[in-house]
Amino acid sequence: MSLFLIAALPFLGAMLPAILIRAGRNASASATGSVTLLALIGLLVHVPDVLAGRPVSARIDWLPSLGLNANFYLDGLGLLFASLILGIGLLIIIYARFYLSRQDPMGQFYAYLLLFQGAMVGIVLSDNILLLLVFWELTSLSSFLLIGYWRHLPEGRQGARMALAVTAGGGLAMIGGMLILGNIAGSYDLSVILTQKAAIQDSPLYLTALILILLGCFTKSAQFPFHFWLPHAMAAPTPVSAYLHSATMVKAGLFLMARMWPVLAGTDAWFYIVASTGLVTMVLGAVIALFKDDLKALLAFSTVSHLGLITMLLGIGTPLAAVVAVFHIINHATFKAALFMTAGIIDHSVHTRDIRSLGGLRRLMPVTFVLATLAALSMAGVPPLNGFLSKEMMLEEVAHTHWITSPWLLMAVVTFGALFSAAYSFRYIAHVFLGPVRRDYPIKPHDPNFGMWVSPAILVVLVVAIGLFPMAIAGDLVAVAAGAVTGQALPPYELKLWHGVSPALFMSIIALGGGVILLALYAPVNRLWLAARRPEAKAIYDAGIAAIERFSRWLTDLLHDGALSRYGAIFTVSILALAVWAWTTGVVGPQTRPALEPGPIAYVGWVALVASALSVAVFHHNRLLMLVLIGVSGLMVAMTFNYLSAPDLALTQISVEVVTIILMLLALNFMPQESPRESSFGRRARDITISVGSGLGMGGLIYAIMTRGFAQPSISEYHLANAKTGGGGTNVVNVILVDFRGFDTFGEIIVLGIAAIVIYAITESILGSSVRARLLNRVPNRPLAGDAHPMIMVVITRVMMPLALIVAAYIFFRGHNDPGGGFIAGLIAAIAIIMQYMASGFGWAAERQRLPYHAIIGSGVLIAALTGVGAWFNQMPFLTSAFGYVHLSGLEPFELATAALFDLGVFLAVVGAVLLALESLSRYAWQPNTVSEYPMDINPAREVGETRGKEA
């Protein structure tokens, strides 16, 4: 199966459980399981190749100009992680089916789980670090959904937020590190980067990149001092904890360190940062875990500790340490997932996870007892289980490693950590299952049904089997994965139970024996622990967050005080200052273009434009007058366009002007007719100064531009030269709109459609509120005309409607070769329909309007899109237009172009958007019982007394 499909399957499949939950919980769970199983099978098909040392890859250039390619790559390391993610994922899916209660929305759970799974698979299969970053952030987001799944629990929400803040924060740092790394290596493809060890380690930016990338890894893998989010993420349902904290989320950081190992490891900086962080995390986690009374908290801190252990192994930097790290990743995933599931079983069967209320469960829950004991003994490092093997090899590695010149310091600290690790593992067995049967369990404990214990059972079988036959079961996988980590031939090693008498054996004996003794002394040691003063990570985190919140509140209040006009003033003055600075420091070339001689009509237009604009400003307290005056300005702007060789613009401007003025008139109907005089003299003086300054700046700038030639050759020549031959039209502006820059236009009509739908949505929400009652009881601002729908106007508009539509059609069809086109035709058609609303009334027009305007907008966008897609069938890029000339007998030869179809889409979108906006606004004015049952309110031909309507 293609690697693309393996990575995409969980994402595609995420829809299934959400839909199938209607068919029942079993359908939802089996769909999820099938998707995962399918991806797993697809992965396993590649196993022979990968084990034979032939990595599989799949490549697509996605955004090659940015170095972002959808390249996937499956080598030993990827195979190891992907099979853990999918394999354990499958077991978790089975387990969760029986774990979740009826009240939990299971469809949602599985959808989130699959999204998370897809993101994890994406991380481990990516061959491009930018792609990897995308998946990395997706795991942060989807794990947020999973951890906060029980959204009714405040701890769940808090834990999810904390996990997101910490891991996404680290992810941000990592983006920086990855970009630096890609920059040094000259490529963002991992397969290239991994060959650039010398270049990367010699770069002066190596340390920066290393620290930034490690920040991402450490936050994700819960390394000290970022370990605190992991225990709080335990508020999630247990299947989530089992999945995230055994095989996936927290292993992503380890994966990345392993992936980058060939180029980043081997330096002192790497050793001291990574190995020391790992060591501290390992010991700290183990010590805290012993004193946790919540089963899941104990396991959470033990996870922190084991992650530290693996980090330390990767930090040591020798190939053999990498082998051990890989081996322990497998072992930890198996026993830890099993342990989390048994913790979930206990919670489910006893209704408590508090160790202090447990004990003596071995008789009541024999199956769980066996599973939990085997897994916990493996975690403690007891032979012959798999945990023992990797722990033994780890101790052996540590025994050979010097830390700050001391040969035994590392050994001692690690043995201390291992001792606590053994102690908490034994505690998990002794304080939960051993001891006398109690009388005060919340409910009577019992073993769960088969569905719930089968998953941990499979894992425990693996724990034992790997322990007994390590080479047969895991040998090849470890070898190929470790080979991928180190990128070199591995030194000889063997995974086996008995290594002879070595320092590691003594360290193991001390750890296990010490663990037993420590547990025997648990009560006094625990009292000591409780009495000691310890820094609480959550309190520190909360205090930090609170401080940031106070700061941002202070800053926001300072900058964002709600005075919009003040923002406007500050903004304008800043821009003006920048412009003055640029003007005074830059160089302006000499005037090169001769001035154009204006005709007398230009002066007339100028006077009208300037006079109307100034009058708008002066008389702005009278709002109706302002509307009349701005209409004059708009008309003059249109005339300006016409005068200066832009007929298309003139047509557009006039038609938009009409629609805009109608819209504002409608709105003004509901608003005060006057603006009060409330600005002080000083304020007006300030505003006049600012606006005169900006006016001078804009005017001066455009004058300077217009009187000088182009600094660089314009691309317009290309458009003029190719409009006819390439686009099939002589109106170059229209050809640019529908052909050369068709994609821009496509975006524009979508924006226009969105604007109209926003207006519709605002109307819906306002009319659904108490405002509606106020509108219905509104006293109009001015007395209504006696005749709402005058007969002459009604008759004229109805006669004009077909004429106007014909004009629109004419403008539309000539658009490709003469001024016109879809935009202008759409506006004209919209105006023709608006006239009906105005003359005959909203109710009358709405009754005759059969197509919803949303549909018209949608069909416009769809037609434009389909026209564009059509080009694909001719092996051309999106929106490539085609045209041809058709000869029919009896007619002039005429042109058929796909651009006309695209323009039809533009036309429909414009018509729909304009009408939806105006119709929404008109609904504010709706009053009941105003629609006449006759085609016309007043009709002299009708019998007196029959006339009804709104004459009164």
Partner: protein, 114 residues
Amino acid sequence: MELLLASAVGILTACGIYLVLRQRTFPVIIGVSLLTYAVNIFLFASGRVVMNMPPVLSDSAQGYTDPLPQALVLTAIVISFGMTAVVVMIALSAYLSARTDRIDMDDEAEGSAK
């Protein structure tokens, strides 16, 4: 001609900005419209202006004006209608819900709205 056009752009901008700095929604919207005119003419004129040379290909034409800014401005005009319509709706809804059309949220306005 250039001087006429530049001065018109300047005056439209000045009037537009003055109105944008007013304290009621309606004048602000009209101000934005005036500013839109100014910006559209500005963009259009950045292609340099000529008379009687429309960008419509024909055999008898003396030359053509720059079509590219025209295409840009054409969509800008239509989009600015969409924007104006949305802003008008927001202003109207705000006025109907809050019963004031002040745009500043300063303490004085909040006091009078309560």
